[in-house]
Symmetry: C2
Subunit: 343 residues, 2 copies
């Protein structure tokens, strides 16, 4: 109920997902509004689409803590309660993402050994995908959290993209060991140790620069949520700006307008392929349940894909496997906590 | 002498600059190699191109401190000494950028009141330019340094792009005051106070997200050198990846190949317009002299443009005006140093 255009895209997206995949969807929110919306789109009796009533809504203006403490019967809270009670496997929402995080932490808790859950985002690249963790859940982190984002991202990449030994990098301002900050240097040492573990299921490449993210030489990049969020939004903005610049350059000449008309369908397809709506939402990794955070402005396609992807994640036991990946390096995190140079 | 392909592009770039603009260029380095290179390109007697001999070269492997302490007669050191002695107005180099920074600090020092010089980069946008400071000189900063990067960037934008009251933003992971880090929140408060100064020559917009950098709503963005460097390189990488994706999408169909052949010249022109080589190097702001840091792989065009731009900066007294912009808020920096929450 908390997305920018809720509950329209949510209801239509749920119906579309339930038609395309064997997924049971529980719409959580004001029952009469949800029923009305289902009827409006001629989907009142869609198999596998259920409704669970909730009286309140977390808005974009609610602070994460307030939303959790004061709105005990919000659609977000009820959805998380369903997962905590084992009545659902995943929460998908286009609502307040800070509140999604606080609900995940307070209702589901963290998987054992996880210091802070991180948000995983997937970028399309010319040759495949790039997994980035954390893209915004934690703006101030410790070295062990940063190293855990690398381990969580690697496990995600392995399960979701099928890479046997994902190549993991740590985002920095240069590749030399002298580069980076106190934080990245300490995290680098931890990731080196984690990758040296006999049961480690990833390779660690060390520092990766911004210019090498999309070249296909790395599968997973760990960074703090501040840098990750800036990076994600800046590259989205750059892609949009570049497409606008191409369009306006083409409009300036007859030759350009002619060629532009010919290639328009190709560019449109490319735009769709790199659009967030096609990949659905972002996973909150490190909690015992699938939590998928969608853009507030998600449309029907984005919601549909987020539901289908969440269903796939739940069937693959992704939360359990992410927890196991962190548990594999248990001693490392304990040593790191004892020796944390940043306190 | 320290660029990736030195001294070829440096010599040819200097000759081209001296032919196109009324600039006197002193080539600093091994005299016989420089003379040979000038002869090789048929430019042995180019007016306004001079040579100053230096026996050593700072390499990309030298640490910034070593380069300064051990290579007293490097081409970089001699060039900085010329500026310190008033015999030159600007240093332009495609050599080791960390060493450029250490030489600037040790030979020229900081302009009065400047805590840390910052590197200014200019991004092309669909509607103009975006000035970013710092793009890599300082990876760990204090709030007052971050605020100074905003003031330096604003002054640069005013002098170089002619904006009467540049709109300055502080890069963050969201626009709400609760977003950002302890560092950005403290810098935000300082920039608000600086912009409220009766003689302030910029407007302060507060937090800016990565997605709003290239939309034309902001002229200048302040950030720390770690985030700035990651951002700069990631957006460059994204632009390259996107152009590659467009090219390969076009190659997949006859229609695409036809349209692609027609628009190729338009895309090539666009690529040139957003290429670093066209805009020359990046300015180190906050030192008493023009210091222009070029990509190690700079070609003739990049060097030529960096020299012409540096000449323009020197004639506009840009270093003095940057120093005056910082001095205007003198009390603010002193208060900030006294009250720095990060120590």
């Amino acid at each position: 109920m908390g997305g920018d255009h809720a509950p329209g895209p949510e209801v239509a997206g749920a119906v579309a997902a339930a038609r395309e995949a064997p997924v049971e969807v529980i719409l959580v929110g004001d029952e009469s509004r949800l029923r009305a919306e289902l009827s409006r789109i001629g989907a009142a009796h869609t198999p596998r689409v259920h409704i669970r009533h909730a009286t309140e809504v977390v808005t974009m203006d609610d602070t994460p803590a307030q939303a959790f403490r004061k709105k005990r019967d919000s659609s977000m809270r009820v959805a998380f309660d369903l997962v905590a009670a084992g009545q659902a496997s995943a929460v998908v929402s286009a609502g307040n993402s800070g509140a999604m995080l606080s609900h995940a932490l307070f209702v589901l808790g963290r998987s054992p050994g996880v210091e802070r859950p991180g948000i995983v985002t997937v970028f399309p690249t010319p040759t495949g995908t790039l997994v980035l963790c954390d893209m915004g859940a934690n703006v101030e982190v410790k070295p062990s959290m940063l190293a855990q984002f690398g381990v969580l991202g690697a496990c995600y990449d392995q399960v979701v993209h099928g890479h046997a030994r994902p190549r993991v990098g740590l985002l920095s301002n240069g590749t030399e060991a002298s580069k980076g900050t106190e934080l990245t240097r300490a995290a680098d040492a931890l990731l080196q140790r984690a990758a040296a573990h006999p049961e480690a299921s990833f390779q660690y490449l060390g520092y990766i620069e911004g210019s090498h993210l999309l070249t296909g030489e790395v599968d997973v990049v760990a960074t703090d949520g501040f840098t990750g969020n800036v990076l994600l939004k800046a590259t989205e903005g750059m892609a949009e700006a570049l497409l606008r610049m191409i369009k306006s350059a083409l409009m300036r000449s007859l030759r350009g307008r002619l060629g532009g008309a010919i290639i328009r369908p190709v560019l449109e397809e490319l735009r769709r392929s790199i659009d967030y709506a096609e990949t659905g939402g972002a996973l909150l990794a490190g909690v015992p349940g699938v939590v998928t955070i969608c853009h507030g402005r998600s449309d029907v396609t984005a919601i549909k894909n987020a539901i289908k992807v969440s269903h796939r994640f739940a069937r693959a036991s992704l939360p359990q496997r992410l927890g196991a990946a962190i548990a594999r390096h248990q001693g490392l995190w304990q040593d790191a906590a004892a020796a944390d140079p940043l306190g």
